[in-house]
Symmetry: C2
Subunit: 306 residues, 2 copies
């Protein structure tokens, strides 16, 4: 058993996860980041203690964080969603709990969940791309998560592809996530509509990425162009990552992965067309097994992949 926490911008979710990757018990509280670090810390402590009382075994705690950590994994260096900078979260939690606490980036937690129990199980080398509001990533090489010398590895969403019409939240221009996230899809369609392109999307108020995929499947020209643009950049990024580290498998997670085979087939075709050795080094590209629970499941199993 392990305790896995998914610390998100809107909710703190915690679960007791068994050795088969099943969440046996789950608790959730809203994230009150507007009340400051001490409040969130306290809510975390209460939630972890509650979960710990539910499991009689010796257990560790893993926490998935939507931000970047220090190289030693002890400090949350930057977490824009919670407005945190340089918070010694590991020490602060361990001083309130009688448990070891491990921190990990949330996309990395999802990567671990897939490698332990999901789509990349039994693969020694895997990469996850989580496609949501942004693009997250996780990299496992030789069964170990790659954290990087400064703790900032796996920032796949910020690899620069080419100039884009809007800047990334990170301050750079051309980041993958400005081409390949839900935000990117919506902004691209909105821009085309503003410039006069015809589309069914014009009839929908506040359309989201799900609408865009639905209309793309139905043949709407703009929606399809937006999806094709997204998959072109994803295929390009996957080919570049393959040329560098040549993993066995890429898994596509996050909300957009709900678009299923329609999305996957396009990504595979775009990757193949950009890979240096497609004939003998094409990676598998699959859909992630876990949805919203990936963070908890991965965080609970972090110690296996360090």
């Amino acid at each position: 058993m392990g305790i896995g926490i998914d610390l998100g911008g809107t909710a703190i979710k915690g679960g007791i996860v068994d050795y088969q990757g099943t969440i046996q018990k789950e608790r959730m509280v809203k994230t009150q980041s507007q009340l400051g670090y001490a409040q969130v810390l306290n809510d975390l402590v209460v939630l972890i203690k509650e979960l710990h009382q539910l499991t009689p075994e010796e257990t560790g705690v893993g926490i998935g964080i939507p931000g970047i950590l220090s190289a030693d994994g002890a400090t949350v260096v930057s977490c824009p969603n919670l407005n945190w900078k340089n918070r010694p979260l590991k020490q602060d939690l361990e001083s309130c709990l009688s448990l070891e606490v491990l921190l990990v980036n949330d996309a990395t937690a999802a990567c671990i969940a897939e490698a332990a129990f999901g789509s990349t199980r039994d693969k020694k080398n895997s990469v996850i791309l989580t496609l949501g509001t942004g693009v997250g990533g996780g990299v496992i090489i030789n069964e170990h998560v790659i954290f990087g010398a400064h703790g900032v590895a796996s920032e796949v969403g910020h690899m620069i592809m080419e100039e884009n019409f809007y800047d990334c939240n990170c301050g750079k221009n051309g980041c993958l996530e400005t081409f390949a996230s839900a935000t990117a899809l919506i902004r691209y369609c909105q821009k085309q509509l503003d410039e006069g392109t015809e589309s069914v999307l014009r009839t929908i108020k506040n359309f989201d990425a799900r609408d865009i995929f639905e209309f793309a499947k139905a043949g709407d020209v703009l929606a399809l162009a937006a999806v094709n643009r997204l998959t072109r950049y994803l295929g390009w990024a996957i080919a570049n990552i393959s040329d560098l580290i040549d993993p066995e498998v890429f898994t596509i997670g996050g909300g957009l992965s709900g678009a299923g085979e329609f999305l996957l087939e396009k990504i595979i075709a775009e990757t193949r067309s950009r890979l240096t050795y497609p004939q003998y080094a094409m990676p598998e590209i699959v859909l992630a097994t876990f949805g919203n629970e990936a963070g908890m499941i991965g965080a609970a199993n972090l110690s296996r992949f360090i």
Copy 2:
């Protein structure tokens, strides 16, 4: 002691390398690839036997290959310089020798030489970029070389950056090596001259990359633009690689690294401007220690990094 072989398109160089990384004895024969695989194989066997007689110790043999290997490292899948495809070199050599033979990509061999005895010594995570006729690469993570699931990792030179005016030898367009190699420098300058740009280079017949760097240092506008273009793409690629695997150090090898600090300072500035977290995750970027001997030194020490 180890025996390291650098199998190049024009010469086969072999050396006995001691535990300090010094080549104690060296032999060289021309590469007669025009006479076919059997001839080169025979020349390798003769050269390795000769070297083995010079060292009384138990030793292994490592061979750096300018091509790609199978995932198990036993077969040369593709080696354009020697016109080889799917050659079972490891087995062919071991059946003629009483020694274990390990094969490795030549840029990876250089990466190992630097990690064992040179510019990236004592660093657990390092990347080499070898800038010559093409761009090669090598990646070491947690003190292990990354070969990849299909044996084609470290193909840094074929990461696609953006559209370029000529295609890469690999058949793709936009590969890093068409922007950041000696060939790229020369072709860019030649194209600008053809289009009427003024430059001292116009007075030099068959100028090479060294000429371009010399005139860039002296302030020639075209030569400087060519060097700045090269360093812009290198900085961009290094930033993208850092966002993915966040190594401690990048080392710049190959013939172009002879341009020294002039080249290095530009690469560092371009990297910093594209990195997602330059304030706390800027990798070291240094010049490689070894020149032409890197392949032999690294190949002789391959077993330490597998």
